[in-house]
Point group: C2
Chain length 204, copies 2
């Protein structure tokens, strides 16, 4: 029992590091098994193919990220009872968190999956979509609360606004990679925060 899941997570750890550094397709199974000091048979015992590995990586990542976001926006909510202030604090904390992340954000895995669509099968695409919809489900109620208290100055669809969190992060990661500027993502999050402020905060 213990032995099996240990090997499995060892494979996943090694794979995740390589995938974040080089991308999914340029990470070979043979390289992973060599690094994990197992044989190919061992790998295929745990994962029926490379898709299954991608699926497992994304699934695990979603869990970690959910816990992280629960903590982060929970703390923000502790710091202010006001839903708008809590959101602004949460976005600031998020920007700081991402900036401090060495070697980039694991969200790359999800984005990579989105772009290499045909490379993956339906299962991987579905769990990827579920992850994005999970973010929407997380942020939408927060924006509902904010909008209930502070009428937005512009008519906006709150689902689309919730999706903008993902958009800015994923887009920011792409920009960060393209420009070799790791700070890009957090800068873009701060701009989004500025938008939220202008959209909901009453003028003095």
């Amino acid at each position: 029992m213990a032995r099996g899941s240990e090997t499995r997570s060892k494979i996943m750890d090694i794979a995740q590091e390589a995938v974040l550094a080089k991308g999914f397709d340029s990470t070979s199974i043979e390289e992973i098994v060599a690094s994990a000091e197992i044989t190919k048979s061992g790998f295929f015992y745990h994962f029926k193919d490379k898709n299954a590995l991608a699926y497992a990586l994304i699934e695990r990542h979603i869990g970690v990220e959910d816990a992280l976001f629960d903590d982060l926006f929970g703390r923000a909510r502790d710091l202010s009872d006001d839903p708008l202030q809590a959101m602004l604090i949460g976005l600031k904390l998020l920007a700081e968190l991402i900036e401090d992340m060495p070697g980039g954000h694991p969200g790359c895995i999800v984005a990579t999956a989105a772009y290499q669509d045909r490379l993956f099968n339906n299962d991987v695409r579905e769990i990827n979509a579920r992850a994005v919809l999970g973010w929407r489900a997380r942020f939408r109620p927060m924006f509902d609360d904010i909008a209930a208290k502070y009428p937005p100055r512009e008519a906006v669809d709150l689902d689309q606004l919730a999706d903008m969190v993902s958009t800015v992060i994923e887009g920011g990661l792409v920009m960060g990679r393209a420009l070799a500027n790791p700070a890009a993502t957090s800068q873009q999050i701060m701009l989004f925060r500025s938008y939220i402020k202008l959209l909901f905060q009453p003028q003095d």
Copy 2:
């Protein structure tokens, strides 16, 4: 002269279609040469490796896109002398343009290149970075003009704001793919437009 460049662009046309549909790595050279009715030797006569093909595709795409943006924001500028209004009109036109694009936006090529970083060599990464900086150079002066006339309500870095155009588009494309919703990108552009409006437009 004519024959050579004809074959070359035929290869690129076929490759581009396949890359947009399936991604770069799952488009094989053998498949391209079969479709172009040439031999493998013919392909490698024009492109020394797959990197060179990617480079050529991105380079050509940048040219097309530049012309397209010149036209689009030129028309917007014709419709209004005010820099803010011109920007808002331009973003609206951009959102409509992207929405009407069947089969997604060619910008995918650039984003794919950013994400499959290690898959490509330095040349490809550099031209990709140049493309992103080109967008910044395009939008930054526009925001300078706007900010000179309408002082922004929030302190923002105008380079970062210019980069947000790219961010929202690239992020929107990722979201669109993940959710299988082609409208996502244009919706996100319209949210960015709403931000620009709130940031610069004087309150009544």
